[in-house]
Amino acid sequence: MIEYTENKEIIAKRIARIFKNGEVVNLGIGLPTLVANYLPEGVTIVLQSENGMLGLGPAPAIPDPDLTNAGNQPAGVLPGGCFFDSAMSFGIIRGGHVDYTVLGVLEVDQEGNLANYKIPGKLVPGMGGAMDLVAGSRVVIAATTHLEKSGASKLRRRCKLPLTAAREVNLVVTDVGYFEILGDKFRLLEYFAPYTPEWIQEHTDADVLVTSTCSCCSDL
């Protein structure tokens, strides 16, 4: 019997292995931000920050009030980075020049729908840049713990909350496995030890297809 324990680090680590040298990546606030800590040796990616920067880097010791990330935390810019206005920033995003966007999730479903900006009557922070990021990026990665605190599946057959974007999510990485969304199914590409494909199918409230090449990833 496998007991589920939330593990955000594993999610960030697995996502960090997806990128290839030189790719442009936007990391959402929260869990996705952790991804930057786990990039493999020798892989250099370019972080896009939707408030107007390419080459997002760690904040200097003395913060610069004119240089923040999209969450208003002090940030830095790496050599070769640059700044631009919000029209250009979202042109880069909407125009498909961001290879990957990594976002947190309230719900994600097997059709690739994503809900992450609003719980009607409860929480209405606004979509910020999320709708453009999900509609525009070449590949959209949803990063989420597999289960809610209540034990409910975050991966759904059909989202019930208002959508951030329709049919735009390509990959989902949770703390139990790595999924591709294709043909209106979650296709399991990898499962993370100690979880098994059977456990994942049982604990996902959606159609999970175990692909023929599905393998165990045990070194995260």
Binding site: S49, N51, L67, A70, N72, I93, R94, G126, G128
Partner: protein, 229 residues
């Protein structure tokens, strides 16, 4: 090149009237014209419509307040057109209490709508928001088998901006991520006032490195010196 009047923040605020559609630069307060905002808060102008990336930060725990948050605390807007209100709970309280109308707009769409107003476009087609609540009430057009929403220009009566440097003609340079919506709003409003950290002579800014051309700027305010962090 003619020079633009340098005025005080209080004089700038006086030019903003009840009911004005007000564009304010800044992203969660980074790149906001804080001096003009403070004067406008003191002046108490009412019933304005805010066009801004967000409703800035008003953190009840830390007490931290940035950008347009003082204007929201003073209930100076009857409507806000913004992409994000999650860091200012007072915005959501006013919205839920029916004290203000909040139109949430995707950030990239907001940027293009402000740009379209400045650039004489009647609108733009964006894929953002298709299949979401954002599409409600909007015209949909199919181009090359993809569905787009028609998003309309968002002009304003007054823009207040923050720049790193202005020359006396009004050419502007912004610093780092403090640029954000400032150059777009500069083009979209009838009256444009900038709060600059430094005012230099004409000719001191390299013409290849101007971010906002002088012709968009009507008045310049010299920003108060920043406190050391």
């Amino acid at each position: 090149m003619i020079t633009k009047p340098v005025i005080s923040a209080v004089e700038a605020a006086r030019k903003i009237k009840d009911g004005a559609v007000l564009h304010v630069g800044g992203f969660l307060g980074c790149g906001s014209p804080d001096g003009i905002i403070a004067a406008l808060a003191a002046q108490g102008t009412k019933d304005m419509t805010l066009v801004c990336n967000d409703s800035a930060i008003a953190d009840p725990k830390s007490g931290r307040v940035t950008g347009v948050a003082p204007l929201i605390a003073g209930k100076q807007f009857s409507r806000m057109i913004v992409s994000h209100i999650g860091t200012n709970p007072e915005t959501q309280r006013q919205m839920n209490a029916g004290e203000t109308i909040v139109d949430l707009v995707p950030q990239g769409t907001l940027a293009e709508r402000v740009r379209a107003a400045g650039m004489g476009l009647g609108g733009v087609l964006t894929p953002t928001g298709v299949g979401t609540e954002v599409e409600i009430g909007k015209q949909k057009l199919t181009v090359n088998d993809r569905i787009y929403l028609l998003e309309l220009p968002l002009p304003g009566d007054v823009a207040i901006l923050k720049a790193k440097r202005a020359d006396r003609a009004g050419n502007l340079q912004y610093a780092k991520t403090a640029r954000n919506f400032n150059p777009l709003m500069a083009m979209a409003c009838a009256l444009v006032m900038v709060e600059a950290e430094e005012i230099v002579e004409i000719g001191e800014i390299d013409p290849d490195e101007v971010h906002t051309p002088s012709i968009f700027i009507d008045f310049i305010v010299l920003a108060a010196k920043r406190e050391q962090p």
